[in-house]
């Protein structure tokens, strides 16, 4: 009787185990779906940093798992909070197989450095790449491809909250000792810096955690677009907008009706027009910071005559849009742009 019950329970457990194995998440498929767009299929890096063997051999699985979970807030990589633990484990296991590496584990003990002393080391040896505030010199992230930038691989933000929450002191220490060969970061071990200097600079990097400034949150009343009523008729409003934009050094593209190309030219509504404009110099600079910007380009002010005759201008709110990219560099730039942009529009609708 007892034996049967034990067998029964064992059988049940086995079935559960097998079912679990059958349903084990596919790490490669998850990587292709969630990571490859930025890190490339073979992990060579793109918008994201390379995930190659030399690097992965020197980090822990715990670092990889936490990085996937929290991402890099404000530094392009999203946090994947909706993946299950099993899915995150599967992605990490896939990275291990793909790079033929095993994890390096680190003692939890903090590195006994002195941040105040570490500052001098940082300024002399690290700042030219990682910047005074640790957020990374130069424009944008990852591996440089189409548009020239100041580094082939952009130095990581080592003051980023996501990085500091994921990396242990000992792991940061290891990164400094061995450097990042493929990415141009020199190895500071083997005599380049003393053990004490390395400890001190780790403490200095860790202290970024306290200094980190969060980007200004959006006011609750911010909407994805601004709508202005024009005191003028349709034609005059369109003309005024173009004059103001040209005056502000934008290049104006040929007009496009909102419905143009979606329906035959006789049925298209001619009282809804998009005035499209761009400044290629500024655009080129912005694409280095955020290569995905094209999905909100070119800038466009839409002018529509409403059924009651009122003419309205619909203008994108750059503050809201920039925050969709999880890219603080872009947010800073667009918060400033938004101000001059609004001035132009207000001039037109006065």
């Amino acid at each position: 009787m007892h034996v049967i019950r034990v067998l029964f329970v064992a059988g049940l457990l086995l079935t559960l185990l097998l079912a679990d194995a059958a349903a084990a998440p596919d790490g490669e498929a998850l990587y292709v779906e969630h990571c490859a767009a930025c890190h490339r299929l073979g992990g060579q890096g793109g918008i994201g940093l390379p995930l190659e063997a030399g690097k992965l051999a020197n980090v822990s699985d715990d670092y990889l798992r936490k990085t996937v979970r929290v991402g890099r807030p404000g530094r392009v990589m999203p946090g994947f909070q909706r993946l299950s633990d099993a899915q995150v484990d599967a992605v990490v296991a896939f990275l291990r197989t793909q790079t033929a590496t095993v994890e390096r584990t680190f003692a939890e003990a903090p590195v006994p450095g002195d941040a105040a002393r570490g500052e001098a080391v940082y300024v002399e040896h690290c700042q030219r790449c990682h910047g005074a505030d640790g957020s990374g010199e130069g424009e944008g992230t990852g591996v440089t491809m189409s548009r020239e930038r100041s580094f082939l691989v952009m130095p990581a933000s080592i003051s980023n909250r996501g990085f500091l929450a994921s990396a242990s002191d000992q792991m940061i220490r290891r990164s400094i000792v061995v450097g990042r060969k493929g990415s141009g970061m020199p190895a500071f071990g083997s005599g380049k810096l003393t053990d004490r200097e390395i400890d001190d600079v780790v403490a200095y990097v860790r202290a970024f955690e306290i200094q980190a400034v969060e980007p200004e949150p959006l006011d609750a009343d911010q909407r994805p677009t601004h709508v202005y009523e024009s005191p003028y008729d349709f034609e005059t409003t369109v003309e005024n907008v173009k004059l103001a934009l040209t005056g502000a050094n934008f290049r104006i593209f040929p007009d496009r009706l909102l419905e143009q190309g979606l329906i035959d030219e006789f049925s298209v509504n001619t009282r809804q027009i998009g005035v499209r404009f761009c400044n290629f110099n500024v655009l080129y600079g912005m694409l280095k910071i955020e290569p995905r910007l094209g999905i909100v380009l070119p800038c466009r002010i839409t002018i529509m005559e409403q059924p009651d005759g009122q003419v309205i201008l619909v203008v994108p709110n750059l503050r809201v849009i920039s925050r969709w990219f999880n890219n603080d560099e872009l947010v800073g730039l667009w918060d400033r742009m938004e101000e001059s942009f609004i001035e132009i529009i207000e001039e037109v609708t006065l």
Partner: protein
């Protein structure tokens, strides 16, 4: 010890903050194929999903003309006229996001496809009809990206 506690607390705080770094304001896909070819797959998939292609913006051309060399960088504009009419009548402030746009970005011999997830707009509107529309666009865009991935995968496999 203290530092360790801070780190754990920090990680927990990050995890618990909703929308710290939203994973899906952006829909993205990478194709191991040159952008000029991928663009053709993108256009046919968009049309197969019932959208008309309104316009193709040649951003790389514009930049080149002004002395800024760039790899292929195209933006495809597409939409359905009934949907555009409904939005411009009911939610005129949303016309900024129409027609829909998909960016085709060359990274050497590979291509990055990127599109804004229309559901990024959802938190600003309580209206259920609009939520349904935004959700439908999201599904269509995801399906277009999936189609292109499947169709090109066949061709990439044949090439090897």
């Amino acid at each position: 010890m203290n530092r360790r506690i801070y780190r754990v607390l920090g990680a927990l705080a990050l995890l618990s903050m909703a929308g710290v770094a939203q994973a899906d304001n952006m829909l993205m896909s990478r194709i191991e194929m040159r952008a000029e070819i991928v663009l053709e797959y993108v256009k046919s998939s968009i049309e197969e999903h019932g959208y008309a292609i309104a316009h193709l913006q040649l951003c790389d051309g514009g930049m080149k003309d002004f002395g800024y060399p760039s790899d292929v960088y195209r933006v495809v504009f597409f939409g359905k006229v009934e949907e555009v009419r409904k939005i411009s009548a009911d939610y005129p402030e949303l016309v900024t996001y129409l027609p829909l746009k998909l960016a085709v970005i060359a990274e050497k011999d590979e291509t990055l496809l990127t599109v804004l997830n229309p559901e990024a707009l959802a938190p600003y509107y309580a209206d259920e009809a609009l939520q349904i529309q935004l959700g439908r666009w999201h599904n269509d865009l995801q399906s277009i990206l999936d189609d292109v991935r499947r169709a090109t995968a066949k061709r990439i496999a044949a090439r090897q």
